[in-house]
Protein backbone atom coordinates (compact mmCIF):
# COMPACT_ATOMS: atom_id res chain seq x y z
CA UNK A 1 0.00 0.00 0.00
CA UNK A 2 1.15 3.52 -0.72
CA UNK A 3 1.38 6.76 1.19
CA UNK A 4 -2.21 7.62 0.21
CA UNK A 5 -3.50 4.73 2.32
CA UNK A 6 -1.10 5.58 5.13
CA UNK A 7 -2.26 9.17 5.12
CA UNK A 8 -5.91 8.04 5.17
CA UNK A 9 -5.25 5.72 8.12
CA UNK A 10 -3.41 8.47 9.96
CA UNK A 11 -6.18 10.98 9.30
CA UNK A 12 -8.67 8.52 10.83
CA UNK A 13 -6.75 7.25 13.87
CA UNK A 14 -5.37 10.60 14.99
CA UNK A 15 -8.91 11.67 15.92
CA UNK A 16 -9.24 8.92 18.56
CA UNK A 17 -7.34 8.78 21.88
CA UNK A 18 -3.79 7.40 21.67
CA UNK A 19 -4.45 4.02 23.42
CA UNK A 20 -7.20 3.08 20.95
CA UNK A 21 -5.12 3.82 17.85
CA UNK A 22 -3.12 0.61 17.71
CA UNK A 23 -6.41 -1.25 18.04
CA UNK A 24 -8.17 0.69 15.31
CA UNK A 25 -5.41 0.92 12.71
CA UNK A 26 -5.34 -2.76 11.60
CA UNK A 27 -9.13 -2.75 11.24
CA UNK A 28 -9.15 0.31 9.02
CA UNK A 29 -6.22 -1.09 7.02
CA UNK A 30 -8.11 -4.33 6.49
CA UNK A 31 -11.17 -2.40 5.33
CA UNK A 32 -9.12 -0.34 2.86
CA UNK A 33 -7.15 -3.31 1.52
CA UNK A 34 -10.24 -5.47 1.02
CA UNK A 35 -12.05 -2.61 -0.72
CA UNK A 36 -9.06 -2.03 -3.01
CA UNK A 37 -8.79 -5.77 -3.69
CA UNK A 38 -12.46 -5.98 -4.64
CA UNK A 39 -11.92 -3.20 -7.16
CA UNK A 40 -8.79 -4.78 -8.60
CA UNK A 41 -10.60 -8.08 -9.07
CA UNK A 42 -13.11 -6.22 -11.21
CA UNK A 43 -10.24 -5.02 -13.44
CA UNK A 44 -9.15 -1.62 -12.11
CA UNK A 45 -5.54 -0.42 -12.15
CA UNK A 46 -3.85 -0.55 -8.69
CA UNK A 47 -3.43 3.22 -8.33
CA UNK A 48 -6.92 4.03 -9.59
CA UNK A 49 -8.39 1.25 -7.44
CA UNK A 50 -6.75 2.60 -4.30
CA UNK A 51 -7.92 6.11 -4.96
CA UNK A 52 -11.47 5.00 -5.78
CA UNK A 53 -11.59 2.82 -2.66
CA UNK A 54 -10.63 5.74 -0.42
CA UNK A 55 -13.24 7.93 -2.10
CA UNK A 56 -15.79 5.17 -1.50
CA UNK A 57 -14.89 4.95 2.18
CA UNK A 58 -15.39 8.70 2.53
CA UNK A 59 -14.15 11.22 5.06
CA UNK A 60 -11.69 9.40 7.39
CA UNK A 61 -12.81 11.48 10.37
CA UNK A 62 -16.40 10.38 9.81
CA UNK A 63 -15.25 6.76 9.65
CA UNK A 64 -13.28 7.18 12.88
CA UNK A 65 -16.29 8.82 14.55
CA UNK A 66 -18.41 5.82 13.48
CA UNK A 67 -15.87 3.50 15.04
CA UNK A 68 -15.62 5.50 18.26
CA UNK A 69 -19.40 6.05 18.41
CA UNK A 70 -18.80 9.77 18.62
CA UNK A 71 -21.60 12.23 17.81
CA UNK A 72 -21.11 14.28 14.65
CA UNK A 73 -23.42 17.02 15.84
CA UNK A 74 -22.61 19.86 18.18
CA UNK A 75 -25.81 19.30 20.17
CA UNK A 76 -27.91 16.31 19.17
CA UNK A 77 -31.66 15.70 19.51
CA UNK A 78 -31.18 14.33 23.04
CA UNK A 79 -30.26 17.76 24.45
CA UNK A 80 -31.36 20.21 21.75
CA UNK A 81 -34.74 21.19 23.24
CA UNK A 82 -33.35 21.54 26.76
CA UNK A 83 -30.50 23.66 25.43
CA UNK A 84 -32.91 25.88 23.49
CA UNK A 85 -35.29 26.35 26.45
CA UNK A 86 -32.54 27.09 28.93
CA UNK A 87 -30.89 29.55 26.56
CA UNK A 88 -34.17 31.38 25.89
CA UNK A 89 -34.95 31.57 29.60
CA UNK A 90 -31.50 32.82 30.53
CA UNK A 91 -31.49 35.45 27.77
CA UNK A 92 -34.99 36.65 28.63
CA UNK A 93 -34.24 36.93 32.34
CA UNK A 94 -30.59 37.90 32.65
CA UNK A 95 -30.07 40.30 29.74
CA UNK A 96 -32.86 42.79 30.62
CA UNK A 97 -31.93 42.82 34.32
CA UNK A 98 -28.23 43.39 33.65
CA UNK A 99 -29.00 46.04 31.03
CA UNK A 100 -31.29 48.03 33.35
CA UNK A 101 -28.90 47.70 36.30
CA UNK A 102 -25.91 48.87 34.26
CA UNK A 103 -27.90 51.74 32.77
CA UNK A 104 -29.09 52.93 36.20
CA UNK A 105 -25.66 52.55 37.80
CA UNK A 106 -23.95 54.48 35.00
CA UNK A 107 -26.65 57.12 34.79
CA UNK A 108 -26.76 57.74 38.54
CA UNK A 109 -22.99 57.83 38.94
CA UNK A 110 -22.16 59.94 35.86
CA UNK A 111 -25.44 61.65 35.00
CA UNK A 112 -24.85 61.27 31.27
CA UNK A 113 -27.77 59.40 29.66
CA UNK A 114 -25.93 58.91 26.35
CA UNK A 115 -22.91 57.26 27.94
CA UNK A 116 -25.19 55.21 30.20
CA UNK A 117 -27.18 53.89 27.21
CA UNK A 118 -23.89 53.16 25.45
CA UNK A 119 -22.48 51.05 28.26
CA UNK A 120 -25.85 49.36 28.86
CA UNK A 121 -26.05 48.31 25.19
CA UNK A 122 -22.42 47.15 25.20
CA UNK A 123 -23.03 45.14 28.36
CA UNK A 124 -26.24 43.63 26.94
CA UNK A 125 -24.35 42.47 23.83
CA UNK A 126 -21.50 41.07 25.92
CA UNK A 127 -23.84 39.23 28.28
CA UNK A 128 -25.81 37.80 25.35
CA UNK A 129 -22.66 36.44 23.72
CA UNK A 130 -21.35 35.03 27.01
CA UNK A 131 -24.64 33.35 27.91
CA UNK A 132 -24.89 31.84 24.44
CA UNK A 133 -21.33 30.59 24.45
CA UNK A 134 -21.16 29.09 27.95
CA UNK A 135 -24.60 27.50 27.84
CA UNK A 136 -23.79 25.92 24.49
CA UNK A 137 -20.39 24.77 25.73
CA UNK A 138 -21.95 22.99 28.73
CA UNK A 139 -24.38 21.16 26.47
CA UNK A 140 -21.66 20.28 23.94
CA UNK A 141 -19.70 18.70 26.80
CA UNK A 142 -22.83 16.90 28.05
CA UNK A 143 -23.42 15.58 24.53
CA UNK A 144 -19.89 14.14 24.49
CA UNK A 145 -19.88 12.92 28.08
CA UNK A 146 -22.81 10.72 27.13
CA UNK A 147 -25.06 9.43 29.86
CA UNK A 148 -25.45 12.47 32.10
CA UNK A 149 -28.98 13.72 32.71
CA UNK A 150 -29.49 17.47 32.68
CA UNK A 151 -32.09 17.27 35.43
CA UNK A 152 -34.43 19.38 33.31
CA UNK A 153 -37.54 17.27 32.87
CA UNK A 154 -40.44 18.18 30.67
CA UNK A 155 -43.74 18.02 32.50
CA UNK A 156 -47.36 18.80 31.51
CA UNK A 157 -47.49 21.49 34.19
CA UNK A 158 -45.01 23.51 32.16
CA UNK A 159 -47.27 23.72 29.10
CA UNK A 160 -47.90 27.31 27.98
CA UNK A 161 -51.30 28.86 28.70
CA UNK A 162 -53.60 29.23 25.69
CA UNK A 163 -53.51 32.69 24.11
CA UNK A 164 -55.87 34.88 26.13
CA UNK A 165 -58.04 37.27 24.11
CA UNK A 166 -59.92 38.53 27.12
CA UNK A 167 -59.70 42.09 28.35
CA UNK A 168 -57.61 40.88 31.26
CA UNK A 169 -54.79 39.93 28.88
CA UNK A 170 -54.69 43.46 27.44
CA UNK A 171 -54.31 45.11 30.86
CA UNK A 172 -50.48 45.08 31.01
CA UNK A 173 -50.25 46.78 27.63
CA UNK A 174 -52.85 49.34 28.65
CA UNK A 175 -51.01 50.18 31.86
CA UNK A 176 -47.70 50.39 29.99
CA UNK A 177 -49.25 52.80 27.46
CA UNK A 178 -50.63 55.02 30.21
CA UNK A 179 -47.30 55.12 32.06
CA UNK A 180 -45.42 55.92 28.83
CA UNK A 181 -47.85 58.67 27.81
CA UNK A 182 -47.82 60.20 31.31
CA UNK A 183 -44.02 60.13 31.34
CA UNK A 184 -43.90 61.84 27.93
CA UNK A 185 -46.36 64.52 29.01
CA UNK A 186 -44.42 65.06 32.24
CA UNK A 187 -41.19 65.33 30.26
CA UNK A 188 -42.64 68.00 28.00
CA UNK A 189 -43.69 70.07 31.01
CA UNK A 190 -40.54 69.31 33.02
CA UNK A 191 -38.10 70.33 30.27
CA UNK A 192 -39.74 73.77 30.34
CA UNK A 193 -39.94 74.26 34.10
CA UNK A 194 -36.69 72.65 35.23
CA UNK A 195 -34.35 71.58 32.45
CA UNK A 196 -31.03 69.76 32.94
CA UNK A 197 -29.20 72.73 31.42
CA UNK A 198 -28.98 76.02 33.29
CA UNK A 199 -27.91 79.36 31.96
CA UNK A 200 -25.26 81.62 33.55
CA UNK A 201 -27.96 83.27 35.63
CA UNK A 202 -28.99 79.89 37.06
CA UNK A 203 -32.30 79.83 35.22
CA UNK A 204 -33.35 76.65 33.46
CA UNK A 205 -32.95 76.63 29.68
CA UNK A 206 -35.78 74.66 28.10
CA UNK A 207 -34.92 71.92 25.61
CA UNK A 208 -37.84 72.74 23.33
CA UNK A 209 -38.37 76.19 21.88
CA UNK A 210 -40.65 78.10 24.32
CA UNK A 211 -42.29 79.81 21.33
CA UNK A 212 -43.93 76.44 20.59
CA UNK A 213 -46.14 76.83 23.65
CA UNK A 214 -48.22 79.17 21.48
CA UNK A 215 -49.70 76.18 19.67
CA UNK A 216 -47.63 73.05 19.05
CA UNK A 217 -46.72 71.95 22.58
CA UNK A 218 -50.34 72.19 23.79
CA UNK A 219 -51.28 70.31 20.59
CA UNK A 220 -48.91 67.47 21.50
CA UNK A 221 -50.18 67.42 25.10
CA UNK A 222 -53.78 67.17 23.88
CA UNK A 223 -52.66 64.47 21.47
CA UNK A 224 -51.13 62.51 24.36
CA UNK A 225 -54.47 62.79 26.14
CA UNK A 226 -56.19 61.49 22.99
CA UNK A 227 -53.66 58.62 22.84
CA UNK A 228 -54.55 57.72 26.43
CA UNK A 229 -58.25 57.71 25.55
CA UNK A 230 -57.45 55.57 22.51
CA UNK A 231 -55.48 53.11 24.67
CA UNK A 232 -58.49 52.84 26.96
CA UNK A 233 -60.73 52.18 23.95
CA UNK A 234 -58.48 49.39 22.70
CA UNK A 235 -58.32 47.98 26.23
CA UNK A 236 -62.10 47.88 26.51
CA UNK A 237 -63.09 46.90 22.96
CA UNK A 238 -59.99 45.15 21.50
CA UNK A 239 -58.43 46.02 18.16
CA UNK A 240 -60.70 46.50 15.15
CA UNK A 241 -60.39 48.06 11.71
CA UNK A 242 -61.83 51.30 13.15
CA UNK A 243 -59.23 51.25 15.94
CA UNK A 244 -56.45 50.69 13.41
CA UNK A 245 -57.69 53.64 11.34
CA UNK A 246 -57.86 55.80 14.45
CA UNK A 247 -54.32 54.69 15.29
CA UNK A 248 -53.22 55.83 11.84
CA UNK A 249 -54.82 59.26 12.32
CA UNK A 250 -53.21 59.71 15.75
CA UNK A 251 -49.81 58.70 14.45
CA UNK A 252 -50.07 61.11 11.53
CA UNK A 253 -51.20 63.90 13.85
CA UNK A 254 -48.12 63.31 15.98
CA UNK A 255 -45.41 62.34 13.51
CA UNK A 256 -46.08 64.84 10.69
CA UNK A 257 -45.83 68.03 12.81
CA UNK A 258 -43.01 66.52 14.88
CA UNK A 259 -40.93 65.71 11.79
CA UNK A 260 -41.69 69.04 10.10
CA UNK A 261 -40.81 71.04 13.22
CA UNK A 262 -37.68 68.97 13.81
CA UNK A 263 -36.37 69.06 10.25
CA UNK A 264 -37.20 72.76 10.03
CA UNK A 265 -35.00 73.32 13.09
CA UNK A 266 -37.91 74.81 15.00
CA UNK A 267 -38.28 72.17 17.70
CA UNK A 268 -35.18 72.82 19.81
CA UNK A 269 -34.63 75.96 21.83
CA UNK A 270 -31.80 77.98 20.15
CA UNK A 271 -30.58 78.98 23.62
CA UNK A 272 -30.36 75.31 24.58
CA UNK A 273 -28.35 74.45 21.45
CA UNK A 274 -26.02 77.39 22.16
CA UNK A 275 -25.62 76.45 25.83
CA UNK A 276 -24.84 72.81 25.08
CA UNK A 277 -22.71 73.69 22.07
CA UNK A 278 -24.16 70.92 19.97
CA UNK A 279 -26.11 71.22 16.78
CA UNK A 280 -27.98 68.14 15.52
CA UNK A 281 -27.84 69.50 11.96
CA UNK A 282 -24.05 69.03 11.88
CA UNK A 283 -23.08 65.83 10.13
CA UNK A 284 -21.44 63.05 12.12
CA UNK A 285 -18.73 60.73 10.85
CA UNK A 286 -20.87 58.72 8.46
CA UNK A 287 -22.19 61.80 6.68
CA UNK A 288 -25.54 61.41 8.45
CA UNK A 289 -26.67 64.24 10.61
CA UNK A 290 -28.14 63.39 13.99
CA UNK A 291 -31.17 65.36 12.79
CA UNK A 292 -31.79 63.04 9.83
CA UNK A 293 -31.28 59.94 11.98
CA UNK A 294 -33.89 61.18 14.47
CA UNK A 295 -36.27 61.97 11.62
CA UNK A 296 -35.81 58.48 10.20
CA UNK A 297 -36.36 56.89 13.61
CA UNK A 298 -39.59 58.82 14.22
CA UNK A 299 -40.95 57.90 10.79
CA UNK A 300 -40.02 54.23 11.27
CA UNK A 301 -41.55 53.97 14.73
CA UNK A 302 -44.77 55.65 13.60
CA UNK A 303 -44.97 53.49 10.47
CA UNK A 304 -44.44 50.32 12.47
CA UNK A 305 -47.06 51.33 15.01
CA UNK A 306 -49.58 51.88 12.20
CA UNK A 307 -48.76 48.56 10.53
CA UNK A 308 -48.90 46.78 13.89
CA UNK A 309 -52.36 48.27 14.50
CA UNK A 310 -53.67 46.90 11.20
CA UNK A 311 -52.06 43.48 11.84
CA UNK A 312 -53.76 43.28 15.23
CA UNK A 313 -57.05 44.37 13.73
CA UNK A 314 -56.74 41.65 11.11
CA UNK A 315 -55.91 39.03 13.73
CA UNK A 316 -58.87 40.11 15.87
CA UNK A 317 -61.21 39.94 12.86
CA UNK A 318 -60.19 36.41 11.82
CA UNK A 319 -63.03 33.91 12.25
CA UNK A 320 -62.53 31.78 15.33
CA UNK A 321 -62.99 28.55 13.33
CA UNK A 322 -59.58 29.01 11.75
CA UNK A 323 -57.95 28.67 15.14
CA UNK A 324 -59.49 25.57 16.70
CA UNK A 325 -57.17 25.73 19.70
CA UNK A 326 -58.78 29.02 20.64
CA UNK A 327 -62.36 27.80 20.58
CA UNK A 328 -64.24 28.26 23.80
CA UNK A 329 -62.39 31.46 24.55
Amino acid sequence: MTTLTDRYVWAAVRTVPEPQRSDLEPEIRELIEETVQARRVSGEEPVAAERAALVQLGDPERLAADYADRPLTLIGPRYYLEWLRLLKTLLAVVVPIVTVVVFLAQFLSRGDPGAAIGSAVATALGVTVHLGFWTTLVFVLLERAGTADTGIQWSPEGLPALPDHSRHARLPEFVASLVFLAALAAAIVWQHVSSVVRGPDGRAIALLDPALWAFWLPWFLVLLLAEAAFAAWVYLRDWSWAAAAMNLVLNLAFAVPAVLLWSGGRLLNPDFVAAVGWDPAVATGGGWTVASIVTGAVVLVAAWDVVDGFLRARRASLPATRQPVLMGH
Binding site: P26, E30, L31, E33, Q56, G58, Y67
Partner: protein
Protein backbone atom coordinates in the same frame (compact mmCIF):
# COMPACT_ATOMS: atom_id res chain seq x y z
CA UNK B 1 -35.63 25.96 -11.46
CA UNK B 2 -36.81 28.16 -8.58
CA UNK B 3 -36.33 26.72 -5.13
CA UNK B 4 -40.07 26.69 -4.40
CA UNK B 5 -40.62 24.43 -7.41
CA UNK B 6 -37.92 22.04 -6.25
CA UNK B 7 -39.59 21.82 -2.87
CA UNK B 8 -42.95 21.31 -4.53
CA UNK B 9 -41.78 18.39 -6.61
CA UNK B 10 -40.11 16.99 -3.54
CA UNK B 11 -43.09 17.00 -1.26
CA UNK B 12 -46.26 17.44 -3.27
CA UNK B 13 -45.78 15.69 -6.59
CA UNK B 14 -48.73 13.63 -5.42
CA UNK B 15 -48.85 10.79 -7.89
CA UNK B 16 -45.36 9.35 -7.34
CA UNK B 17 -42.93 10.17 -4.53
CA UNK B 18 -39.47 10.92 -5.94
CA UNK B 19 -36.50 8.62 -5.65
CA UNK B 20 -34.89 10.35 -2.66
CA UNK B 21 -38.09 9.93 -0.72
CA UNK B 22 -38.30 6.23 -1.54
CA UNK B 23 -34.64 5.74 -0.71
CA UNK B 24 -35.11 7.48 2.63
CA UNK B 25 -38.04 5.28 3.63
CA UNK B 26 -36.30 2.11 2.47
CA UNK B 27 -33.24 3.03 4.52
CA UNK B 28 -35.48 3.67 7.53
CA UNK B 29 -37.15 0.27 7.09
CA UNK B 30 -33.87 -1.61 6.60
CA UNK B 31 -32.11 -0.02 9.53
CA UNK B 32 -31.56 -2.77 12.07
CA UNK B 33 -31.92 -5.63 9.63
CA UNK B 34 -28.18 -5.49 8.91
CA UNK B 35 -27.52 -6.27 12.58
CA UNK B 36 -29.83 -9.25 12.40
CA UNK B 37 -28.24 -10.41 9.14
CA UNK B 38 -24.73 -10.16 10.66
CA UNK B 39 -25.63 -12.01 13.85
CA UNK B 40 -27.28 -14.77 11.85
CA UNK B 41 -24.59 -15.06 9.18
CA UNK B 42 -21.67 -14.96 11.64
CA UNK B 43 -22.71 -18.16 13.33
CA UNK B 44 -20.09 -19.28 10.78
CA UNK B 45 -16.95 -17.17 11.50
CA UNK B 46 -15.99 -14.75 8.76
CA UNK B 47 -14.16 -11.43 8.18
CA UNK B 48 -15.81 -8.14 7.34
CA UNK B 49 -15.42 -7.93 3.58
CA UNK B 50 -16.38 -11.54 2.96
CA UNK B 51 -19.49 -10.98 5.11
CA UNK B 52 -20.26 -7.87 3.07
CA UNK B 53 -20.00 -9.81 -0.19
CA UNK B 54 -22.13 -12.69 1.00
CA UNK B 55 -24.81 -10.24 2.18
CA UNK B 56 -24.54 -8.45 -1.18
CA UNK B 57 -25.26 -11.70 -3.02
CA UNK B 58 -28.45 -11.97 -0.96
CA UNK B 59 -29.35 -8.38 -1.92
CA UNK B 60 -28.72 -7.07 1.59
CA UNK B 61 -26.65 -4.04 0.67
CA UNK B 62 -24.40 -2.37 3.18
CA UNK B 63 -21.32 -0.16 2.74
CA UNK B 64 -17.95 -1.18 4.11
CA UNK B 65 -17.62 2.04 6.05
CA UNK B 66 -20.90 1.21 7.79
CA UNK B 67 -20.35 -2.51 8.28
CA UNK B 68 -16.86 -2.38 9.79
CA UNK B 69 -17.70 0.07 12.60
CA UNK B 70 -20.95 -1.87 13.17
CA UNK B 71 -19.08 -5.15 13.69
CA UNK B 72 -16.77 -3.47 16.18
CA UNK B 73 -19.76 -2.04 18.06
CA UNK B 74 -21.47 -5.44 18.20
CA UNK B 75 -18.23 -6.91 19.52
CA UNK B 76 -18.09 -4.26 22.25
CA UNK B 77 -21.65 -5.15 23.18
CA UNK B 78 -20.59 -8.76 23.59
CA UNK B 79 -22.74 -9.99 20.70
CA UNK B 80 -19.74 -10.99 18.57
CA UNK B 81 -16.32 -12.35 19.41
CA UNK B 82 -13.29 -11.75 17.23
CA UNK B 83 -9.92 -13.19 16.39
CA UNK B 84 -7.18 -11.92 14.08
CA UNK B 85 -6.19 -14.38 11.39
CA UNK B 86 -2.58 -13.66 10.41
CA UNK B 87 -1.95 -16.95 8.60
CA UNK B 88 -2.68 -15.48 5.16
CA UNK B 89 -0.96 -12.66 3.28
CA UNK B 90 -3.33 -10.04 4.62
CA UNK B 91 -4.29 -10.01 8.32
CA UNK B 92 -8.05 -10.27 8.72
CA UNK B 93 -10.25 -9.94 11.76
CA UNK B 94 -12.66 -12.87 11.95
CA UNK B 95 -15.91 -12.39 13.81
CA UNK B 96 -18.22 -15.04 15.27
CA UNK B 97 -21.61 -14.67 16.92
CA UNK B 98 -21.38 -15.10 20.70
CA UNK B 99 -24.03 -17.00 22.72
CA UNK B 100 -25.53 -13.64 23.72
CA UNK B 101 -25.58 -12.64 20.04
CA UNK B 102 -27.26 -15.90 19.20
CA UNK B 103 -30.02 -15.21 21.76
CA UNK B 104 -30.51 -11.70 20.41
CA UNK B 105 -30.67 -13.00 16.82
CA UNK B 106 -33.41 -15.44 17.88
CA UNK B 107 -35.39 -12.62 19.55
CA UNK B 108 -34.98 -10.29 16.57
CA UNK B 109 -35.93 -13.00 14.08
CA UNK B 110 -39.07 -13.83 16.06
CA UNK B 111 -40.02 -10.15 16.07
CA UNK B 112 -39.30 -9.81 12.35
CA UNK B 113 -41.58 -12.80 11.63
CA UNK B 114 -44.29 -11.39 13.87
CA UNK B 115 -44.12 -8.02 12.06
CA UNK B 116 -44.24 -9.71 8.66
CA UNK B 117 -47.36 -11.63 9.67
CA UNK B 118 -48.98 -8.48 11.04
CA UNK B 119 -48.22 -6.50 7.89
CA UNK B 120 -49.64 -9.26 5.70
CA UNK B 121 -52.81 -9.33 7.74
CA UNK B 122 -53.09 -5.56 7.38
CA UNK B 123 -52.51 -5.76 3.63
CA UNK B 124 -55.19 -8.38 3.30
CA UNK B 125 -57.65 -5.93 4.74
CA UNK B 126 -58.14 -7.63 8.06
CA UNK B 127 -59.23 -4.84 10.38
CA UNK B 128 -58.89 -5.57 14.08
Amino acid sequence: MPLAMVCDTHYYSGMRPDEDLIAGHLQELRRGTVVLACLTRLRTPDYGYSLLESLDVLDIQVDGNTLYPLLRRLEKQGLLTSEWNTAESRPRKFYRTSPAGDDLAATLTADWDRLTTSLHRLAEGEVP
